[in-house]
């Protein structure tokens, strides 16, 4: 069924946006800084997962072996993305922590362009293609069909988001992250190592992005050095729509953006005289960003931003 398919597509792409958006919102929450290299952290995860899948058999994987292979790919991708984020934080952001707010932003864009080009060089500018190991096909009732791969993406990301919420709300480290986000100096008076907590925040956000890279690769197999750019900005949009700094906001914002690009675009196309093919998705996403920034800068879950200004 057409509308149902659009809904599932929206949720699938939305779950990738949501996972990436969480990294933007976590880092913003703690440093009031937009980590514009985060899209590349996602890209690095996709590549790490790709190499793992190749190493363990590539297209020859089949049957039950794909489960451990995918789990391993996600794990290594999370590790690779997190390591990259730790290095980026250390060399590009931490030295600028007390600089004017524009400085780390420029530094982030520099890191982003550098990473894109390093990977483009190393891959000779050609796409790599994820092994097609995930079973095609779908399940459901009659016209209401959900692809296995789409169900997998949605369920995997929802599970990770649930785990993240438990981590932030229930663990000692999660509490420390919230404390540092609210007031760095006071957090240090609790005995919290602020620098380490900031690194932990980068690691958590990067791990989610790395896994998102693998998920997307399993679904849309072509990957390349510049693949992080558009999802990166869209996830940033999702974080802003949800209310940057808000964890539930990034989740809701991600799905909302995914649905806007699919269901929303089709709804607009249903208006007589309007025809918006697929390529209009980006226009719609970024129009939404502008609308939110103008009319509701705090986003859906937003609180007033920048207490510390």
């Amino acid at each position: 069924m057409f509308w149902f398919d659009q809904l599932i597509n929206g949720l699938t792409i939305g779950s990738v946006y949501a996972l990436i958006a969480l990294g933007y919102t976590l880092v913003y929450g703690i440093l009031q800084m937009i980590n514009f290299a985060h899209g590349e952290v996602f890209m690095l995860g996709a590549f790490a997962g790709y190499f793992v899948l190749l190493a363990v058999g590539g297209d020859d994987l089949g049957g039950a072996t794909i489960i451990p292979a995918i789990v391993l790919a996600m794990f290594v991708a999370a590790l690779a993305s997190s390591s990259a984020a730790v290095v980026i934080e250390r060399i590009a952001y931490r030295p600028l922590r007390n600089a004017p707010r524009l400085a780390p932003l420029i530094s982030a864009i520099g890191v982003s362009v550098a990473l894109q080009n390093i990977v483009l060089r190393m891959t000779g500018g050609r796409d790599r293609v994820y092994p097609r190991i995930f079973p095609g096909g779908s399940f459901g009732f009659g016209d209401f069909q959900v692809g296995y791969i789409q169900a997998f993406l949605i369920v995997a990301s929802v599970l990770m988001m649930a785990a993240l919420l438990v981590f932030i709300q229930r663990t000692r480290t999660g509490r420390a992250m919230r404390a540092v986000a609210e007031n760095r100096a006071t957090a240090s008076l609790m005995g919290i190592d602020v620098d380490r907590t900031i690194v932990t925040t980068f690691v958590v956000g990067a791990a989610l992005a790395g896994v998102a890279g693998v998920l997307q690769g399993l679904w849309i197999p072509n990957i390349r050095g510049t693949m992080g750019f558009l999802p990166g900005i869209k996830a940033f949009t999702a974080a802003v729509v949800g209310g940057i700094g808000s964890v539930p906001g990034a989740m809701v914002g991600g799905f909302f953006l995914g649905l806007t690009e699919t269901v929303g675009r089709e709804l607009l196309s249903a208006i007589p005289g309007v025809h918006l093919p697929n390529e209009w998705s980006d226009v719609i996403a970024f129009s939404l960003l502008v609308l939110v920034l103008v009319f509701r800068p705090t986003g859906i879950f937003g609180e007033r931003v920048s207490r510390r200004a």
Binding site: R172, R175, R178, E182, S188, L189, M190, I192
Partner: protein, 236 residues
């Protein structure tokens, strides 16, 4: 050996020299107050002890060890808790979460006992345990800030203007608790503009002006000193 000793400590903010060669000592078991007017350098002194401001010269010794260049979280681990000016509660976290953070470096079953003890000291906090701390009144926030600092089981408690913005009744209650905390064995360095109440609960005190110590003595001596009376106790 005093519990805390500042040895000609200097600290400031860029070109601003807020603390200019302060030396003072706090013996274990004492309550010592630091009084002085706006901008005298009281808060900066406490921040230099807890590591929030890096001293430019001089030394901070705690239990004989040099802690001058240690980072704030290591100073907490060494046994000093600082209740900052303006309380510094985490407004978006619940009262209980704030208290748990006070015990961040500890853990184990005694933490729950200590939470219960804080609730005994400040029953108002128990009623509000699940509320976010931002919804508390000023007095309740001060109680929370003090209770949270106690959760670290510090050997030295630094209190920066606990009476700021509180009604006379709440001020009295807070100072009673300060005395009680000291009697239960915690050494206290208290910063106040409310010199009358501060001197009442303190064994000794220092008067600070423009970043330097100008008078020192026991609580009674200072309360009787004509200069202190004139400048800080509002008497002619």
């Amino acid at each position: 050996m005093p519990l805390l000793a500042l040895e000609s400590l200097h600290a400031g903010y860029g070109a601003i020299r807020a603390v200019r060669g302060i030396s003072l000592e706090v013996e274990a078991g004492e309550t010592v107050c630091l009084i002085g007017s706006n901008g005298a350098g009281k808060s900066t002194t406490l921040r230099a002890i807890s590591g929030l401001v890096r001293p430019s010269a001089g030394r901070v010794r705690f239990e004989g060890c040099d802690i001058t260049r240690m980072r704030p979280h290591d100073i907490v681990a060494a046994g000093i808790s600082h209740v900052p000016e303006g309380r510094g509660i985490f407004a978006r976290l619940t009262v209980t979460e704030n208290l748990d953070l006070g015990a961040y470096l500890r853990g184990g079953p005694e933490v729950a006992e200590d939470v219960a003890r804080v609730f005994e000291t400040f029953p108002r906090l128990r009623e509000r345990a699940r509320q976010t701390a931002g919804t508390l009144s000023g007095g309740e926030q001060q109680m929370l800030a003090i209770g949270r600092a106690l959760m670290a089981r510090p050997r030295l408690l630094l209190l920066d203007e606990p009476s700021m913005g509180l009604s006379p009744i709440l001020t009295q209650l807070i100072f009673e608790r300060v005395r009680q905390i000291n009697e239960e064995g915690t050494t206290i360095l208290l910063v106040e503009q409310n010199a009358t109440s501060a001197l009442e609960v303190s064994h000794r005190g220092y008067v600070i002006e423009s970043g330097e110590i100008v008078i020192t003595g026991t609580g009674e001596e200072l309360a009787a000193d004509p200069r202190v009376k004139r400048a800080y106790l509002g008497e002619l």
